[in-house]
Subunit: 123 residues, 2 copies
DNA sequence: CGGGATCCAAGCGGATACTG
DNA sequence: CAGTATCCGCTTGGATCCCG
């Protein structure tokens, strides 16, 4: 199954239904864990659209971030397969960052989240 | 605009483009903040499909959670307009939890996230 | 230029005990 | 039954300094 819109069973006597809920929850949890981190979304949005940026470009684009955080978040996203890192063996060093195809594929999902947030009723 | 799939400007000289990226990032960030918390997604998935559960039902459904955390996360989601809380003035007390319409509307967005996670290439 | 190493403060979440 | 109150450890993230 790929949908979370499962029919509600009036009496959830089915273990399969419970398993479905748990696995869906943990699946989304794993996805969100990849996006956790104070700066990942900001970085992500700067790289969307196929943009390729150097480390210093990102520093300039996100003035509030520290070098440590920028490096750390980029490393994690690289390890997670969201970001591709290209090192040019030259001096002074030059490193470029871009999204992988899978990273780009996050766009529709974040769009859906954005749409949901926009639909928030007034309180 | 509602889409994050904006065309990449070869030279991002447009301030509008930058503003778009920033606001989209912060929009999604705000959405994700509502879902942050160790147990919110688990609770959410137990309430999806229009299920109505009592406090003790949720405790039984999520054995690993503590009372403090269950109450806290439910309060936050109630305050955020995701969960509706109904108190029956009787003794012993009875409190039921269900998703608001807006809470239910999270389903497609989480589906998209789930689909994205499932599309992760093998490493 | 593009980091790594270290130290430190704040906040999140867990365990336990108590209550209307 | 459905919480609240308190304490406490661990993780996250910021500041600073150093390096190839």
């Amino acid at each position: 199954m790929t949908s979370t819109h499962e029919k509600v069973s009036p009496l959830p006597q089915s273990k399969a239904a419970a398993y479905t809920r748990e696995s869906a929850a943990s699946g989304v949890e794993q996805a969100l864990k990849l996006l956790e981190g104070r700066w990942k979304l900001v970085i992500l949005f700067h790289l969307f659209g196929g943009r390729v940026l150097r480390f210093s470009d990102l520093e300039r684009a996100i003035p509030a971030i520290s070098q440590k955080m920028l490096a750390q978040q980029l490393r994690q996203m690289e390890g997670d397969g969201i970001v591709r890192r290209v090192v040019y063996p030259q001096v002074p060093p030059k490193v470029e960052y871009a999204l992988t195809e899978w990273g780009q594929a996050l766009c529709p999902a974040l769009d859906a989240l954005l749409a949901w947030a926009a639909a928030r009723p007034a309180e």
